[in-house]
C-alpha cells in the first residue's frame, strides 16, 4: 500500500516569519510525509480549502504575530463545517502557555512552543493521526 501522511503547513494571517514553518516542512519531508506548504498570508478560508482539496491528515499552522486566538479557532471551525473533523490540527510559534488550554478547547490538538524539536512533532503526528 502506498499510503503517505499528508500535512498542510500553513501561515495564517499577516505574519511574515517563515523560518520555523520551512524548517518543520523540511523535517516532515525527511520523515517521509508529503508536505504542502501554503506560503504566507493565508486566510482561514484559504487554509481550509487547501486542506480539503489536498485531503490532508494534518493541518500545521505557524504563527508568531499574536493573532492565534482569533485565527486558529477560525480554521478549526471551517474544517468542521467542511466535514473534515478527522484532520489533526496543530499550531506552533509564539504562543504563551496561558493561551494553550483555550486553543485546545477550540479543537487544536497540540501547540508546539519555542524550543520544540522537529522530531517531537513527527512523533506526535505519527501517534495521533487517524
Amino acid at each position: 500500500m502506498q499510503r503517505r501522511i499528508r500535512v498542510l503547513v500553513a501561515k495564517p494571517g499577516l505574519d511574515g516569519h517563515d523560518r520555523g514553518a520551512k524548517v518543520v516542512a523540511r523535517a516532515l519531508r525527511d520523515a517521509g510525509f508529503e508536505v504542502i506548504y501554503t506560503g504566507l498570508r493565508q486566510t482561514p478560508e484559504q487554509i481550509a480549502e487547501a486542506a480539503l482539496e489536498e485531503d490532508v491528515n494534518v493541518v500545521a499552522m505557524s504563527l508568531l504575530s499574536g493573532a492565534h486566538n482569533t485565527l486558529f479557532p477560525k480554521v478549526v471551525n471551517l474544517l468542521r463545517a467542511k466535514e473534515m473533523s478527522d484532520v489533526l490540527i496543530l499550531g506552533g510559534g509564539v504562543i504563551p502557555d496561558a493561551d494553550i488550554p483555550g486553543l485546545k478547547q477550540a479543537g487544536v490538538a497540540e501547540i508546539f512552543t519555542p524550543g520544540t524539536s522537529t522530531a517531537s512533532i513527527v512523533e506526535f503526528i505519527k501517534a495521533n493521526i487517524k
Binding site: R29, G39, R41, Q46
Partner: protein, 312 residues
C-alpha cells in the same frame, strides 16, 4: 456516503477523498475507478512540462483564470518529486496559485511522484479520470519539471505544452533531448528577458526541420506569466490544437493509443502485484534468495515454477 455518487453530484470533499483512495491504493480503489469510468471522456487534458524555474505554476495560474473568465471549470494536478531517500515530498506548486484557492470552480491537487520516473506520479492517469468524471472542462497536468526525461506526459494528455525560458544556459540541450518530439505547443515564458529572440529562432528552425510526419506544426508562443501577457493567445493555441485533433481524426487515434497504454499498464501492475503477493509471503523471498546463492536453483527456474503454479 457513497463516494462516487457524491462526487458525481459535485461534492469537492468526495472528489478529494476519491483521489486519496486511488493514490493510496485502498481496497475500494478499483471499484471506484470502475464506477467513474463511464463518466469520463469529456475533459480536455493539457500537460504543462518544462525545466524547473520556467514558471509553469505561474502560467497554469494565469491560464486557469483565463479559462474561468470564459466560464470553464478547471482541475489542476501539480506534481513534485518524492525524495528517493525518505519517501517524503515538499509539494510547493500551490504557493503560486493562492488566489485560485477560493474559486469553487477550480480544484487543485498536489501529488508526489512516489517513486515514479518520467515526470508524473504513478496514479496521475487515475486522478485525471476522476477529475474528468467530476465534470472538469479543462484539466492541467503540471509535471515535475526535471526537463529532459519527461516524455510520459504525452501518454496522459491531449495537448502537451512545453514551457521554456530564455537564458537558462542550456536552451539547446532542452531542445535536443526529446522535448521537441513531445511538444504540441511551445511557450517561451519570461519573454521580457534577453535571449528571447534567439531562443525563438532556434526553436522555429528545429521545428521546421522536424515537421515531417504530422499536419500539426507546433506554434511557438511568447508569454510573461507574471503579468499575464500572452496568456490569452496561448489559450487560443490550445483551442486550435484541440480543433485540429478532432478534425483530423488524431484525437481518436491518440486516445486509442492512450487507452491501450493504460490497459497494458494496469494489466502489468495488477499481474505483478498478484504474482508478487505469492512470493512476498514472510520469509519466502529470503528462502528463494538462499537457494539461488547456494546454487540449488537459478532465478530462471524459480520464475518458471511460480508462473507454472499460477497458470495451473
Amino acid at each position: 456516503m457513497d463516494i462516487v455518487q457524491e462526487l458525481l453530484a459535485g461534492s469537492r470533499l468526495a472528489l478529494a477523498r476519491a483521489i486519496t483512495a486511488v493514490e493510496n491504493e485502498y481496497d475500494e480503489a478499483v471499484t471506484l475507478m470502475q464506477a467513474i469510468y463511464p463518466h469520463t471522456g469529456k475533459a480536455h487534458v493539457v500537460g504543462i512540462t518544462g525545466p524547473p524555474g520556467a514558471g509553469k505554476s505561474t502560467l497554469v495560474d494565469k491560464m486557469t483564470k483565463e479559462y474561468r473568465r470564459k466560464g470553464k471549470t478547471v482541475g489542476i494536478v501539480a506534481i513534485d518529486p518524492t525524495s528517493p531517500f525518505y519517501g517524503g515530498a515538499i509539494l510547493g506548486d500551490r504557493i503560486r496559485m493562492n488566489e485560485l484557492a477560493l474559486d469553487q470552480g477550480v480544484f487543485i491537487r498536489s501529488m508526489g511522484t512516489r517513486g515514479s520516473l518520467g515526470g508524473l506520479a504513478k496514479k496521475t492517469v487515475e486522478v485525471v479520470k476522476i477529475m474528468d468524471a467530476f465534470g472538469k472542462d479543462v484539466i492541467f497536468v503540471e509535471t515535475v519539471g526535471v526537463g529532459q526525461s519527461e516524455v510520459d506526459v504525452i501518454k496522459v494528455v491531449d495537448t502537451t505544452v512545453v514551457v521554456l525560458v530564455p537564458g537558462l544556459g542550456d536552451d539547446i540541450q532542452a531542445i535536443k533531448a526529446g522535448i521537441l518530439e513531445i511538444g504540441d505547443i511551445f511557450v517561451i515564458n519570461k519573454a521580457d528577458r534577453d535571449g528571447t529572440e534567439r531562443l525563438e529562432t532556434e526553436l522555429e528552425m528545429m521545428l521546421d526541420l522536424n515537421s515531417s510526419k504530422v499536419a500539426w506544426r507546433p506554434p511557438v508562443k511568447r508569454t510573461v506569466a507574471n503579468s499575464g501577457d500572452g496568456v490569452e493567445a496561448l489559450i487560443g493555441a490550445i483551442a486550435d490544437h484541440i480543433s485540429y485533433l478532432y478534425n483530423s481524426g488524431e484525437f481518436v487515434r491518440h486516445r486509442s493509443a492512450r487507452t491501450k497504454n493504460e490497459l497494458l499498464l494496469l494489466l502489468n501492475e495488477q499481474i505483478s502485484r498478484h504474482v508478487l503477493e505469492s512470493v512476498m509471503a514472510p520469509g519466502k523471498l529470503d528462502l528463494l534468495v538462499d537457494s539461488i546463492e547456494g546454487h540449488r536453483q537459478t532465478p530462471y527456474n524459480i520464475v518458471n515454477n511460480i508462473l507454472a503454479d499460477i497458470l495451473r
